[in-house]
């Protein structure tokens, strides 16, 4: 089976997210970048499905030339083809991104056949828009479920497990289908040295797409009010145990 995974390059923040002086972007001067966590798991899910059922995994992203790093990361753990939709400057909004992705998928499929599955992350770590996958699926006219914590394929049907407040829900989508994956569906593997070397040789196909801007416009980023805590140090080492239990009593959690 042929699976496409759409991933996003996002900063990997530590303890604090700083923003640039003009408030337009996260200040990434001292930050590394990563594949957004849900999508890292989507890549792993795709690789596991192909290991079981045969076929190949293609990875796609929309970004500048630096996003090739994330395509190669996916290639180092098992994706064999990589597609970059090159854009310059600021991130595209969700409508524009989904239009570009669905156009790219249509073009790729015209050349190589239909993807049985197109996987997305549940939401991106940085913009948290919760909509690119759904929009792309509707444009492609394919069924879509978000939040997948399990995917099984049998007889042309994807069985999807997801968690809700009520319990565990099962969905069944006929292929071809789109699925939004949640972290926790698996534990992504680390790339092997062989995988890293192979990823350097993967040719990155550039698919230039134009799409119109959508109607949600970012004006400015801001940091939420800092939580200022006058931390009360209860003590140092095991001797603090008594003070801790006093606190538990005071809070009513020790009975």
């Amino acid at each position: 089976m042929n699976i496409l995974v759409c991933v996003k390059r996002v900063p990997a923040p530590g303890a604090r997210i700083n923003i640039t002086e003009d408030g337009q972007q996260v200040d990434t001067a001292f930050l590394g970048f990563t594949v957004s966590p849900h999508e890292e798991c989507a890549v792993e899910a795709a690789v596991q499905l192909v290991e079981k059922h045969g076929g190949e995994v293609t990875v796609l992203t929309l970004g500048d030339v630096l996003a090739e790093e994330q395509l190669r990361t996916a290639a180092s753990v098992g994706a064999v083809k990589a597609v970059l939709i090159p854009i310059e400057g600021m991130d595209w909004d969700a409508q524009r991104t989904a239009t570009a992705i669905s156009s790219a998928i249509t073009a790729l499929e015209a050349a190589n056949g239909t993807f049985d599955l197109v996987l997305f992350g549940n939401e991106s770590a940085d913009s948290c828009g919760y909509q690119v996958g759904v929009r792309a699926a509707v444009k492609l006219g394919r069924p879509m479920v978000n939040g997948a914590k399990g995917i099984d394929i049998a007889d042309g049907v994807a069985t999807i497990r997801r968690e809700s407040d009520a319990g565990q829900e099962l969905y069944k989508l006929p292929l071809p289908a789109c699925i939004g994956v949640r972290e926790g569906i698996n534990l992504p593997r680390y790339p092997t040295m062989k995988g890293r070397l192979a990823s350097k040789k993967v040719e990155i196909q550039r698919t230039v797409i134009s799409a119109e801007a959508g109607g949600l416009q970012m004006i400015q980023l801001q940091r939420p009010p800092e939580r200022v805590s006058n931390t009360q140090i209860l003590g140092t080492g095991p001797e603090a145990a008594s003070a801790v239990v006093d606190l538990l009593v005071e809070l009513g959690v020790f009975k």
Partner: protein
């Protein structure tokens, strides 16, 4: 003209997130001098109309179709889209939950409209005619974005827990809408469901004892399990722990794990990176146990013990047993 709230329900039981959305919808409707209306999906939610009018909805649109029994993101999205086309609201507010985002995304895709998720505040100067400005949460709430939604109908979700539900009883008209659902939206209904076993979960436990990279191994979580057990609590962990394979992802507190709000969060050997902090920041009290006085979690916590968790945690359990005379 109206503000339309998409009511979230589980087989006819309204979710708490809906009450916040209804309250926010009523406030915004008042601001732009219009009425707040609501939409329910499926006849099994018809009985909710009284509870919905208690929050000030003047009309409840009941989307009906024989297939609308259980949740299905595409059928729900298409049903709401048809009600939106019919009632032409200025603003549509959905719940800031996973399924709430999913339904609004489906509505947006089907109507080809922009959508702004996880809004925490709307522009107080909005009068219904101009683009809607709002503040929305990014990075799980650790960064905010001022944004502008320019569309004939503004689709948003309200970040969960940002508006306290307040009743404002009125009498609602009921408008049944028989929606037409194409076979293409019928695939994604819930086919089966395994109900959660009743009991304390990570999300609801009043005490969470959590471990981070500093715990060092899967086995070293034993003393944390013991302390949690003594307090009737649950063990959680950070993403570093999950990534090391020490604990299952279901125990992970954070942006991509579980959001918690316990009475006390005991964070052992956790540095407090953004990814983790946004899942724990709603805790009523935080006790950090860490060797590093400058760790992010220590500076943000209300209480801290400076020391090695491998010695401090067993000492706390010992003290609890001593006071209980065990």
């Amino acid at each position: 003209m109206s503000v339309l709230v998409v009511v979230e329900h589980d087989r006819g039981t309204m979710t708490p997130a809906s009450l916040g959305a209804l309250t926010a919808g009523r406030n915004l409707a008042k601001q732009i001098n219009t009425t707040m209306e609501a939409v329910t999906v499926g006849a099994n939610a018809d009985a909710l109309s009284d509870a919905i009018s208690a929050y000030g909805a003047t009309t409840v649109h009941q989307a009906h179709h024989a297939a609308l029994v259980d949740f299905g993101p595409e059928a729900w999205g298409e049903s709401v889209a048809q009600v939106v086309r019919k009632s032409a609201p200025q603003v549509v507010i959905g719940c800031g939950t996973d399924s709430g985002h999913e339904v609004i995304a489906q509505v947006a895709a089907r109507l080809d409209l922009p959508a702004s998720m996880n809004c925490i505040e709307f522009d107080a100067a909005f009068d219904g005619s101009q683009p809607l400005r709002m503040t929305r949460a990014r990075w799980g709430g650790s960064l905010l974005e001022n944004a502008q939604l320019d569309a004939s109908i503004k689709l948003v979700t309200l970040a969960n827990h940002t508006v306290e539900p307040v009743e404002a009883p009125t009498t609602a008209n009921v408008a049944v809408v028989d929606v037409e659902l194409d076979p293409s939206v019928m695939h994604s209904f819930v086919r089966d469901r395994v109900e959660r076993v009743a009991g304390v979960t990570l999300a609801t436990s009043p005490v969470v004892v959590s471990g981070g990279r500093g715990v060092g191994s899967a086995e070293a979580f034993g003393p944390l399990e013991e302390l949690a057990g003594l307090l009737g609590g649950i063990v959680g962990c950070s993403r570093a722990v999950t990534n090391n394979g020490w604990r299952n992802h279901t125990d992970q507190v954070g942006q991509t794990g579980t959001r918690i709000a316990p009475e006390i969060y005991i964070a052992c050997g956790i540095s407090g990176a953004i990814q983790h902090w946004v899942g724990a920041m709603a805790s009523k009290n935080i006790l950090a146990i860490n060797t590093d006085r400058e760790a992010n979690i220590v500076t943000k916590a209300g209480y801290a013990v400076i020391g090695d968790l491998h010695k401090v945690v067993p000492a706390i359990s010992e003290e609890i047993r001593r006071r209980r005379g065990q």
